[in-house]
Amino acid sequence: MKRMMSLAVTAILATIVVVGLVQGPPSTVPYDRVLELAGQVRCPQCQVSVADSNAAVAQTMRVIIAEQVEAGRSDDEILEYFVDRYGEWVLTKPRRSGSTLLLWLLPLVGIGAGLWAIVRLRRVPS
């Protein structure tokens, strides 16, 4: 009986959480496309993105992003606009292709190698 209760409680709570997550966040925090894009464009004068910098040029670039969002351009178009002017270098999120594909694969390779080592550690007798 106690076990059944426990199971039921777990199931109800889990259902609430899952349903809530599937429903997604309410609109109290607006998804800020400008800020999201600003985080993916690097400030030409500093180490960080234009979202994380308050250098004059970063402010200007944020305004450009805001204007383009306003004008209804897509994310890719806006990023491409900056790549055309500054090169690949301007993207803080390297593309998952070309010379930066390897970078995205490295963590996966690391996980794979680690799991292989652990499995091997388990099999090899001392």
Partner: protein
């Protein structure tokens, strides 16, 4: 005068380092090493003391003082200037290394071959750092010619006739803007250099052909202390970034931050895997490899921050120091890993792991995740440099990449933190795991359900709320069971449980800190909001339930500094709660303008206001305003992690006789 004393100190320390290395590697007993160890300590203290003396007596004939000091610099920043620029920071590094070497000499009870070789290893490291101070990073050069208020010619000859500036430019404006600047570097260095000690004992063990676990036992508290200082150094650095750098954040994943995070990740992995070796005799070769990697990552960190490879507030100048540290990094890695490869067959094969469903299994998962995390951060940090070096292509790797790696790894790590500490060694049976985990899991689900029902349905927020609650619940439940199982009254029983296994419970305090930090970090970033605008006098900007009103601009003059700013009246739901004064400062009428944010700190969240433009003539200001809910919680978490480390380092295990173990079914 101070140049003479300072350079003599460096030379004394340099010669002593060489003597420690030689005598340690050849044959010497404790008495034979005494003189050089003392020489290293005294030399490095004299060097640091002379640098402070030169700064405090405004001795502008010393090159370092002429380049980085001003008469108007306030006392506390004058003292901190000794490590606020390249050469001085290396002097501080050398001093910390010397103090640790001395402590290794004094505190080790065995004084065996391993210890001798370990001291010799410390000697080699200090030989390199004092060698740099004596040549390419000499802070005690004498100024022989001045031009337009700058020292343009210097010589290492301390007897040369010197010319002194009347006044200097003062330290980097960013570095004389907040008190944390005086504390963050020494604390970080205590952590960085601290990892040299377990590294040195590992090298000593390999050289002596030993294979025991003794080196881990002997360096346990060293490692804990180093880890604790490194953690505190990173937290203070983030706090400084938040309070000073005026960009509205605390962690940007810039190479310099990564430089401190990399050894932390590797060191944390080492801290955990060394437990497995000490308790179960496993992972012996892995631990040696891991401590070598941790040490080399501290050197890599020094290279990244001190070389000018990355332009940031930390990389002071382009100089020969960068290439020198790079050579040391390569040389020491080759030597250490070479020795490891040559001697690892001497390390006794570890006993086989019985089941992956065991404490050992969770430790392996922890090590896998932490090392992959470190590997990914390392890859992200070095990729642009390496790609450019080999192909000429220029790319950037920024926050989106690091966040994409960090989030999933952190979720699994948090889950492992919850499960690991209550998982039995050898084989964890299902009944005992159920007994220990089901109720905490239900509490975690309940917390998630409350979050969802109250409208917080952001994925990261809900997941971290559940994971953090789970961690705290598991640890609290286990602690409560052990306390109630003891015959003594409550408080006494609690202290007996804690003192019975300070290593374990210090770790659990840190785990709770990690949970709290994760909660504050996730909530503040996922629910943080930004606003910006230009405010005329009397105008108001609204963010969340707060309003900020421009009540007028001000200009204030301090010794060596002029600040212009705006007074903002902060109201919460119409009620006045605070006055914020973000401002822009100019130091000694030169260098860039440095912005300082106005921050309202509250347990429920901060309001952060920074100026991006200011017109003193009509009193209008351009403002960036952020609201970070529960950011305060993140800092609390950071300091709780440090408390846990401190607890494990300081509290000694009470003997079995004092605290009889009580079986808990």
């Amino acid at each position: 005068m101070s140049a003479f004393f300072g350079f003599s100190g460096i030379l004394l320390a340099l010669i002593s380092s060489g003597a420690i290395a030689l005598r340690g590697f050849l044959k010497a007993d404790k008495a034979g090493l005494r003189l050089p160890v003392l020489g290293l300590l005294i030399g490095s203290i004299v060097a640091m003391g002379a640098l402070e003396l030169a700064l405090l007596t405004n001795d502008f004939s010393v090159s370092y003082v002429a380049a980085h000091h001003a008469r108007s610099t306030p006392l506390i920043y004058a003292i901190a200037t000794a490590w606020a620029a390249l050469e001085g920071s290396i002097v501080l590094w050398g001093l910390v290394l010397a103090v640790f070497t001395f402590a290794m000499y004094r505190r080790d009870r065995l004084n065996d071959t391993v210890w001798r070789f370990a001291l010799a290893t410390m000697g080699v490291i200090s030989l390199f750092f004092f060698g740099m101070m004596a040549t390419i990073a000499n802070p005690f050069e004498v100024c022989t010619a001045v031009f337009e208020g700058r020292c343009i010619e210097t010589t290492a000859n301390v007897f040369a006739s010197s010319v002194a500036l009347l006044d200097g430019p003062g330290p980097n404006p960013l570095l004389q803007n907040h008190i944390l600047m005086a504390v963050h570097p020494p604390v970080l260095y205590l952590g960085y250099v601290g990892f040299a000690v377990p590294f040195a004992y590992a090298i000593g063990t390999l050289m002596a052909g030993g294979n025991g676990t003794a080196w881990l036992e002997r360096t346990r508290r060293w490692t804990l202390a180093a880890w604790t200082f490194l953690t505190l150094g990173i937290v203070l650095g983030a706090l400084w970034s938040y309070a000073v750098l005026n960009w509205g954040g605390y962690w940007a994943w810039d190479p310099v931050e990564n430089a401190s995070f990399l050894p932390w990740l590797a060191g944390t992995a080492f801290l955990h895997s060394s437990v497995v070796e000490r308790k179960r005799g496993m992972l012996r070769t892995w631990n040696v490899a891991l401590v070598i990697a941790t040490f080399e990552l501290t050197i890599l960190g020094t290279f990244l921050t001190r070389s000018g490879v990355v332009a940031s507030v930390h990389s002071f100048t382009q100089s020969a120091v960068g290439p020198a540290i790079l050579m040391f990094l390569i040389g020491s890695s080759l030597a250490a890993f070479g020795l490891f490869a040559a001697r690892s067959h001497l390390i006794v094969q570890s006993p086989r792991i019985e089941s992956l469903a065991s404490r050992e299994g969770v430790f392996l998962l922890n090590n896998l995740l932490l090392t992959v995390f470190a590997f990914a951060v390392l890859a992200g940090t070095m990729y642009p440099m390496l790609l450019e070096a080999f192909t000429g292509d220029q790319v950037s790797v920024g926050r989106p990449f690091f966040d994409a790696v960090a989030s999933p790894i952190s979720y699994v790590l948090l889950l492992a933190i919850g499960i690991g500490p209550v998982t039995p060694y050898r084989i964890a049976g299902a009944p005992i795991m159920k007994k220990r985990l089901v109720i905490p899991a239900q509490i975690a689900l309940a917390a998630g359900a409350i979050s969802v029902l109250s409208g917080r349905r952001e994925f990261s927020v809900v997941v971290v709320i559940m994971l953090a609650t789970f961690i705290v619940a598991v640890i609290t439940k286990r602690f409560a069971e052990l306390v109630t199982a003891r015959p003594e009254p409550g408080l006494q029983a609690a202290s007996h449980v804690l003192a019975g296994d300070p290593g374990f419970w210090g770790g659990q305090i840190s785990h709770i800190g990690v949970a709290v930090l994760a909660l504050g970090l996730t909530v503040s970033s996922a629910l943080g909001i930004q606003a910006s605008g230009v405010l005329e006098v009397g105008e108001t900007i609204t963010i969340d339930e707060f309003t900020l009103t421009n009540v007028g601009v001000f200009e204030r003059t301090f010794p060596g500094k002029v600040s212009q700013g705006v007074t903002l009246e902060l109201r919460r739901k119409g009620e006045a709660v605070d006055l914020l004064e973000p401002h822009l400062s100019r130091f000694n009428n030169q260098g860039p303008v440095v912005g300082t944010p106005g921050i309202h700190v509250d347990v429920t969240g901060d309001v952060y206001a920074s100026i991006n433009a200011l017109d003193a003539s009509d009193g209008s200001v351009g403002l960036d305003v952020s609201r970070y809910p529960y950011l305060f919680v993140m800092w609390v978490g950071g300091f709780v992690i440090v408390m846990g480390g401190t607890f494990s380092t300081i509290v000694r295990r009470r003997s079995r006789r004092d605290v009889a173990p009580v079986a808990v079914s």
